[in-house]
Symmetry: C2
Subunit: 321 residues, 2 copies
């Protein structure tokens, strides 16, 4: 598990990140305190902070400033997750009850808002205007991606184009912004910044496709939520899109979305997709994006952080959950 | 209606404000576009922008920057409203269906997030760090106020202290920040800034108490929502707190909150509060805050904006909806 190597190399920085994330939960409101602590301490891979910190190695920024940017990116991610869980009525995340389940929707919505507000506080001292521009554009696109996800929910008439556009906004841009903002904050060369952003974008696309595959192929224990949750919640992802080229699957999904009866139950559809060629097809596309990330890396200056970015890409391509 | 005077005096600026608010709805996502347009064009008094612009008259800022701050304050207010409506499951606001009703909860949550993000964009170019500090502290407190409102919902054991603390965070601080940020952005003297902030705070407290009174005394037509909505939704406001000093009312509210039967129905409780002394008691406290606002104004330099702040205070003290 090569991600551990990256963590070890950045162990001290990541401890700082955790410490700062912990501080966010430090507020007068005991309800927000418990809810945000529950959310933020639930773990997660912290890949966005890692990307910020590694990208920053290509320049010469002040350490504590990089940590602030890293924390900000993780917080935006977490704030969007807690709102997602309200919308999807998700009951479990990473094996623990969601904030909306453990408390209620209201607490979850305001906890998300609160975390957004803390992000602003964190980035306030940065004078670099481009940093703020990238950030607000990212949140802007993130919201649009999320709302497109609602629009497309239970909509059988989708194609790969809508899917790619949606995951770009929903996931890839936030990861691209992580590497880009790390780069901006540490004042790297414009050409290096561009490459780091590109790397983040490709990794982000590959990452989300893998996530959507694992939703079918992983186990409930590893996922921390039921297998096939996406489809059960009406989200059509790449494996389903490929699988629906088979009319029987298409009709079965359509029937499930319309609350009609079909000879093939949705559980059987999930089983079928899991064992079908659609998984491999999706995996190939995920790998193609990963390859693009590797190619982008080749053009970057040879420093240790570059090897780690390579290791992470490799790890993400092989992950099982 | 003296508010019209203020509007007339600032007619051009307010047109700019409206134009900019309109621009916020300008996005690629047709769903966010319609939802935010529905929300932002629903009217409202726009008192926060007016306060920003009038406070700015005490200094010498650039007009277009003041407009940006004014729009930002209105947007934060609107973003918090759209999230409130989800939490309260409100179906109508200002006589129109809410975003959660007309679309769904998800659209409402992300529309709020999107509007927050646009606020960041708007204030990005401002180099003044204090402006950002005031803003993020305000959003921070606003979230805590909102979450306290959830915590206190259907809780019969409350006193005036919890109520005042809650409305301070939920309403008064955002209005205090409007006058303060207008002042900061136009570089007024620190002593004047302090007075303007104080004025905003007192007005905000008075305003929210009036709002809570009108929820009982106004009509469904003027309110744009049913009379007594607060109590029906489990929110205990000042009139109810005073009225509950009568044990019969206390027991009736308690029974309603616990879904028990009581000889006095909640509709009868609302009727009783409406005609009781509790309204006058609350009104007196609202007037006391208003008086404090007038007193604060006396210490401010004599410029035309000061007369308008006085007119607005007078208007808000007499408003019927």
């Amino acid at each position: 598990m090569k991600l551990a190597t990256a963590f070890k190399y950045m162990n001290k920085d990541m401890q700082q990140v955790e410490k700062q994330i912990k501080q966010v939960t430090n507020t007068e409101s005991s309800m927000i305190q418990s809810a945000s602590n529950h959310l933020l301490s639930a773990g997660g891979k912290r890949i966005r902070p890692i990307f910020v910190l590694l990208a920053a190695k290509f320049g010469h920024g002040q350490k504590n400033q990089m940590i602030d940017v890293a924390v900000a990116l993780e917080l935006i991610h977490m704030a969007s997750l807690v709102h997602d869980d309200v919308i999807d009525r998700s009951m479990v995340r990473r094996g623990k009850p969601t904030v909306n389940k453990k408390w209620n929707n209201g607490t979850a919505i305001y906890t998300g808002d609160y975390i957004f507000a803390r992000t602003l506080e964190l980035l306030k001292p940065f004078k670099n205007n481009r940093l703020h521009t990238v950030l607000s554009n990212t949140i802007h696109d993130l919201c649009i991606g999320e709302i497109e996800q609602i629009r497309d929910k239970f909509n059988i008439q989708q194609n790969e184009f809508t899917y790619f556009k949606r995951i770009k906004r929903k996931t890839a841009l936030l990861i691209a912004s992580s590497t880009q903002m790390g780069a901006i904050a540490s004042g790297v060369e414009p050409s290096t910044e561009r490459l780091l952003k590109q790397y983040g974008y490709h990794i982000g696309m590959s990452y989300q496709i893998m996530d959507d595959i694992l939703d079918f192929t992983s186990t409930e224990k590893d996922l921390g939520k039921p297998v096939g949750s996406d489809l059960l919640n009406g989200h059509i992802t790449l494996p389903t899109l490929f699988a629906m080229e088979d009319p029987t699957i298409f009709e079965a999904v359509k029937a499930y979305f319309n609350e009609d009866v079909h000879e093939l139950s949705i559980e059987e559809v999930i089983q079928t997709i899991k064992q079908s060629n659609a998984i491999e097809q999706s995996y190939n596309i995920s790998q193609r994006y990963l390859q693009k990330a590797f190619n982008t890396l080749k053009e970057l200056p040879d420093i240790e952080a570059k090897n780690l970015l390579e290791d992470i890409a490799e790890y993400l391509g092989q992950r099982k959950f």
